[in-house]
Symmetry: C2
Subunit: 387 residues, 2 copies
Amino acid sequence: MQNFEYCTPTRLIFGKGVVERLPDVMKPLGKKVLLAYGSGSIKKLGLYDKVKNLMKDFEIIELANIQPNPKYDPSVLEGVRLCKEHQVEVILAVGGGSVLDCTKAIAAGAKYDGDPWDLISYKVKAQAALPIVDILTLSATGSEFDSGGVISRTETNDKIGYLDPLLYPVCSILDPTYTFSVSKKQTAAGCADAMNHVMEQYFVEDSTLLNDGFCEAELKSLMVNTRACLENPEDYRARAEMMLCCTYGCNRILSLGNSPSGWPCHGIEHALSAYYDITHGEGLAIITPRWMKHILNERTVDRFVKYGVNVFGIDSTLGKFEIAERAIDETYRFFESIGIPMHLREVGIDDSRIDEMAHHIAINEGLEQAYAPLTEKDIKEILLASL
Amino acid sequence: MQNFEYCTPTRLIFGKGVVERLPDVMKPLGKKVLLAYGSGSIKKLGLYDKVKNLMKDFEIIELANIQPNPKYDPSVLEGVRLCKEHQVEVILAVGGGSVLDCTKAIAAGAKYDGDPWDLISYKVKAQAALPIVDILTLSATGSEFDSGGVISRTETNDKIGYLDPLLYPVCSILDPTYTFSVSKKQTAAGCADAMNHVMEQYFVEDSTLLNDGFCEAELKSLMVNTRACLENPEDYRARAEMMLCCTYGCNRILSLGNSPSGWPCHGIEHALSAYYDITHGEGLAIITPRWMKHILNERTVDRFVKYGVNVFGIDSTLGKFEIAERAIDETYRFFESIGIPMHLREVGIDDSRIDEMAHHIAINEGLEQAYAPLTEKDIKEILLASL
């Protein structure tokens, strides 16, 4: 077991109707609020009007049109400009993980005099950040309970995850009913994202019975509840449990003391969505079983056996490679069964830029230090197998 | 799934050698420190000298001799007096859950003009508290990661659990090597305490796959690792995993969204240790299987089946009451196997005050609202069965 340090100070307010608490949460944080949201789904939900109404005693500056795989230019830059111009005191993110990730970069950038990219690229350490509150409308990234975000910079094909303890949301308001209208496609992609967050913490050299059990519970719950959400999008219990599962995804509570994994599937997928702007969760679902097949060997097989037996209930008396291969097949088939396109070609990616992406990943993601080390050649093989 | 609110802002610093971080943790909190500890085991450990040496730039006021089942008089009262007299700015608790619980009452009492019992008994809501840092030397209560404490008042036989969000430790320093010298008796009692914390959250009307999986992972890990600690007290991995398991015991992370259970075994045990000052974990281990037997019925049997199959691996094809009864037997046998005296008489409790205790519990613990409601008659039967 490795030494670790952990602190997640975010307050979670969870359940039906909790958005009513918004004014009480915001009051101590400031009067001037940047309201950040995406392409308008919060207006269809009625949540935009609800928030504006609840916040009528505040001064609201709006940043709309934050896109999936949120962009440095224009969203982060525009948000930072608005915060500085209006002396914003607190950011309210309403939407999914992309909106929230974007506001994390804005929160730090607003308190920094130089180019915000200096912070995102770790050239400069942030000294302060605006406080963030969020109302979540999509279960997926876990950004509501962690200190990180992922930002894309189109002109350089960079998609960078950055972390700073200053960026934990002060409060995340989680009402599962706001996820009732999430499409089947986004529900499935959110599940794949969350499942992969767990797997990135589970497939490691050194873990504990406790953490393994936490991760296995997450994976089983995500599969059962995603199926239930797809069957009945207004199944409150299923939407609620899925939301909580996703919330635990990235703040390390599932793997405290584990050795690092290198987050290889995320490393590979970030290039896919940087180059092709695909849905992150779909990219992860496509990569995951190919990555698993690629790294399965004498050294890693026991983790796959544990995964297969405890998550999928595969007969533990079978041979270990048979269990491992069945577990990988089950993983693939689960993603397929929830409607995810399981080939890169189906999401518009052909072989024309595989070499370039493999090179970009190899030099930027540090995957030679991953649990199962990946060279540029390994990455290329995984990408080719995913076509 | 129930609505909930959650926030645990405590910073955990975990692992071998992390006590060296103490001065950096303490510096921002103040110069005048109340150093609180128990009956001297930290001196035998060398931890007292280590702490004094690390803290040589601070002004240290000492409160020693805090007892297990920490007492309002003298410990809390004396601590509050010292804090006020010396204008203490921060409390450093070094020891187990009893020391830490005691300092929580002191932290609130030091910032209150009246009788600290007003706060503990919820007559008055605390408005402020001194910050607390702890160095833990015993895995058991989870007080290092929650906002509660339990205080005993001898003259009235009260043992009261009180909670206040002001009382989360600012930082808990958790070095498993300081638990190497914990006796077999205290190791087993700590395990029973932590297991019961999990069970009090698991046996509820309304739970989730996720929370059930978390709880089952905790229980399995606690059993395996306690056995390993008893076999080899210096097994770092086992001590470390046990420490982390215990840390999650009482801050609700294992049961967010679950319906309340009423914590019945704690309600009953608090009277036992208030009247007889027995070891809390031993009292819980004795009560738990008798409570289980008492509440097993058509309404509750399915929870016991889940518990039996998932925690003890009992054959799921057996009849449900057979599984449930085997699960209760396994619980009893596990506690017995780690050396816990499993009868009240073995810890010095006879039948002379059973009526009085049952009455005290019935009027003070609200167990008619528990998951399986308990009247005074039920409580008396559980106590008699535990003799």
